[in-house]
Structures are given as C-alpha cells and as structure tokens.
Amino acid sequence: MNALSIDARVDGIAAGRRRARALRFMSTFLILAVVVWSIEAIVIADTDWNRILTGSLLSTMQRFLDLDWSLLPDLWEPALETVLMATLATLAGLVLSIPVAWLGASNITPYGKTSYAIGRFLMTMSRSVHEIVWGLIFVSAVGLGALAGILAMAVRSVGFISKTIAEAIEDVDPKPLEAIRAAGGTKFQILWFAILPQIIPVFVGNMIFEWDINIRRSTILGLVGAGGLGLVLFRQMAMSNNGGIAVVILAVLSLIIFGEVISYYARKAVI
C-alpha cells in the first residue's frame, strides 16, 4: 500500500493538476498570441481603412439590393441545368470514391500500408487542388462546357466523399463483422452485410452535403464556361449588373434550401 500519508498524496496530486493546468493555459495563450499577431500583421496593416470607414462598403452593398427581377424567367433552365450538373458530378464522384475509400480505410485496405497510402494520397490530391484548377485542367482536356465542369466537380468531390466513407468504415462496430466471419462469410459478404448497413446513414448525409457543395461549385465553374447558373452569374458580372448578380445568388440560395429540405426527408427515410 501507499507509504505516504493521505495529505502528502493530495498535495502531490494538486501540484500535478496545477502543472497540467499551467500547460493547458500556456498552450491556449500561445495559440491566442499567434492569432493576434496574424491579425495585426495581415489584416490591420494591409487593409484600406479609409475605404471601409467612409461608408463606401454600405453604398456598395446597397447597389446589390436593387434586385433585377427581369432576369427571373430566364433562370429556370440554367437552374435545372445546375441541379443536373451537381447531381451527375456527385454521382460520378461517388463512383470514383468507392475504390478510393476501399483503399484508404485502414481496416479493410487490401494490401496493407501500400494500398492505404495510395488511397490516402488520392484523397489528398483531390482535395488539395482547387475546383477552378480542376476545371482548367478538364477544359484543356475536353473543351469548354458542362462536361468539363462536371468532371472537375466529380474529381474534387472524391476527396471529401471517400475520406468520410473511409473514416466511417474505420469506425464501424466490429461485432457484426465477427458474426459474418464466424458464419463463414467471404470478404465481400462482410463488406456488404456488416459494413455497408452501418455506414449508410453517414454516407447518405455526406452525399447530400456534397451535392449541395457542388451546386455552389457549379456557380463558380461558370468561370471556365461550365453551364448552368454559374454561366449566368458570370455574364451578369461581366455586364456589371449588380441587381442581376444578387438575383442569381438568391436563386442559388433557394436551390440549396430546396436541397436541405430534400436531405432532411431523405435522411429520415434512410436512418
């Protein structure tokens, strides 16, 4: 048993807790110091304060509030196109993600560390290249238009979808896997009957989330000539029609709200 008296042990524990607290405090302070320094060095020094303080910010914002509703009838077709592009891109991203997730999930990866590293590398590559850059790459490959945009979004989606699927696979409850293995199931049967049902909720949720991100991406990809609302947006920007830009942004917002509503019911149905 303990030779030390209870009070001596309490003192020891209290001292240890003080040290741990000091360490937590120091690291928090350090992070805060870096944040303050970054704001000082980058934001405060580099900002044109005169411009903000003279109220031109508000007057600029005001120009966007003069909505140009005449654009609305011409938005239906591009909106539909945007939905179709985002949907196609998300589905293509999903198809590409399945093998990547399979490689990148440490508990089911087929060739140990080698295939795991390949899977993780593919995920990182997809995520670390911006969708505009993917867009430019695919424009030079397949030419201007919706196809380049869809391919760019699909490839860019792989990073997120495969990473979340792989992590969901790594977090599955191993007990059902044991049961299928004990029943003499093959590796594929384990995947199909024990892993897949467990990851479906995460999977559906993330697919819908990625679909909604892709709707927003497709508007940016108008820049590389991909169709849909993005193209309309960039045309309005080229014409400096602020009211029109605001209307297109509102259209994108309503599409995403529409997606949220769908996702609420889809998740409820699956989970």
Binding site: V10, I13, R21
Partner: protein, 249 residues
C-alpha cells in the same frame, strides 16, 4: 424510520405507449431496494423518473420533502446533486483520467467557469482520493478511464456517485456488463458503502439471485405495474412466476 423517497401513482410513457402505469412505493433511510422484472417492464424508466432524466407524465416523487416533478430547472439541478447515480455501462468519460472522472461528481457544486479550468478544491481532491482508495483504485488515479477493466470502471462510477455526498443512490443494472464474480464484488461494495454512509439505495437489477442476496426489499415490476413488494424471503416461486409471466397477446 425517516422516509427519504416517496413515489405516488407515477405514470410515464409516450402518447401511444404507457411505460409506467401508476407505481407507488416508499423508501426509508437505510433501505436497499431492488427493482426486478423482465426487460421492458419499465425498471430503467422508473429510476430515471426519480431524478427526471425521464419526464414522468403524472404522479408525485417526494424526495427531501419536495415534489421533484414541481421543481424549476435550477431547483432540479440543485436536488440532483443529492442523488448519486450508477449506470449499467458506467458512463465514464473515456478520455479523462480516473481522478478527473470521479471529480465530475462534484460538477453540481462547481461553477461553470471554475469547471472549465478543472479548479476543484483540495478538499474535493482529498475526498476523491479517499474514495478511490476505498474502492481499491488508489493506484490507478492517473490512468485514463478507457484503460481500466469493467469491474474497475464500475468502481470509478461508484466513487463518482459517492463524492456527491448523496442522500439517495440510484443504481441502474450495475452488473449487467460484468462477469458473475465481479458482479458480486460490485454489489457487495455498493451495499458496504451505502451502509457506511447511510445512503438508501434504489437498484434496478435483472438478476433475481443478486437482488435477494444484497437487497433488503424487492419490488417486482411487470409491464409498468407493480406485481410484488416485500422482503426477499417472501419472493417465492409463485411471486416470481407472477412477475415474469409474459402475457400472450
């Protein structure tokens, strides 16, 4: 003897399904009640109605002279400090040390700001240490909770409940995740501590033998109805059949 808890005509459940259908009983100081019954009888709901982790629909739960069901949220938190709870799956915070887990039992007495910095008083640390020595974990205070065995984890749970200095212990299936030998040790420890600190206990337990061996009084529930109440000696085969008989619909 002094009455600590009185439950009167307690109803609980959802709109379409009634879980408790009018339960009444009285728990006195130094009582060790076992609630037995088949799965789904409402055992867990019953003890959770006492500290309102589950909101009952109607009835009275008189604890400490006040009706728990009429308390405001702040008053309820104050009263929950006086009720220690021990859980089936231990409900420890896996990433915290044994010591920090036990000290979470003091959170009801610690302000939000102090708790963020884990500023517990020296007296609280001392009490935690004394309790951990008593439950046999004096050597493991710095270990993370997830590195302990099941029996050790439940001992942490017991120390966490006792550091509240509770006037009542609610115990929800303390042994379901443990093997038979450890189960008896844990039940023995709970009884020993309850006697030492004079805390009455309300304990859900599906194992009838354990209930009879460790508890002073048994309540038998079936489908939300109290089918039996009395000392373990009175719990004969017929009474058990009554409690565990499943209605065939």
């Amino acid at each position: 003897m002094q009455t600590v808890l009185e439950v009167r005509n307690l109803h609980a459940g959802y709109a379409d399904r009634e879980i408790l259908k009018g339960i009444s009983f009285t728990l006195n100081a130094d009582d060790f009640f076992a609630i037995i019954g088949p799965s789904g009888a409402g055992k867990s709901t019953l003890i959770r109605c006492v500290n309102r982790l589950v909101e009952p629909k109607s009835g009275e739960v008189i604890f400490n002279g006040r009706d728990m069901l009429k308390l405001t949220p702040a008053e309820l938190r104050g009263e929950r400090r006086n009720i220690g709870m021990i859980f089936q799956e231990f409900n420890l915070i896996e990433r915290l040390s044994v010591m920090d887990n036990v000290l979470t039992g003091r959170l009801g007495y610690t302000g939000t700001f102090r708790s963020i910095f884990r500023l517990y008083t020296k007296d609280e640390i001392k009490q935690a240490l004394v309790l951990l020595d008593r439950v046999g974990l004096g050597e493991h205070i710095d270990k993370r909770a997830d590195r302990l065995s099941g029996g050790q984890r439940q001992r942490v749970g017991i120390a966490r409940a006792l550091i509240q200095n509770p006037k009542l212990l609610l115990v929800d299936e303390p042994t379901s995740s443990l093997d038979p030998k450890i189960s008896r040790e844990v039940m023995g420890l709970i009884r020993e501590m309850a006697r030492e600190f004079h805390i009455p206990v309300l304990c859900n337990i599906h194992d009838v033998d354990l209930a009879c061996d460790f508890c002073s009084h048994v309540i038998g529930l079936q489908d939300g109805v109290k089918k039996f109440e009395g000392p373990p000696a009175k719990l004969d085969k017929q009474a058990l059949q009554e409690i565990y008989a499943m209605e065939v619909l």
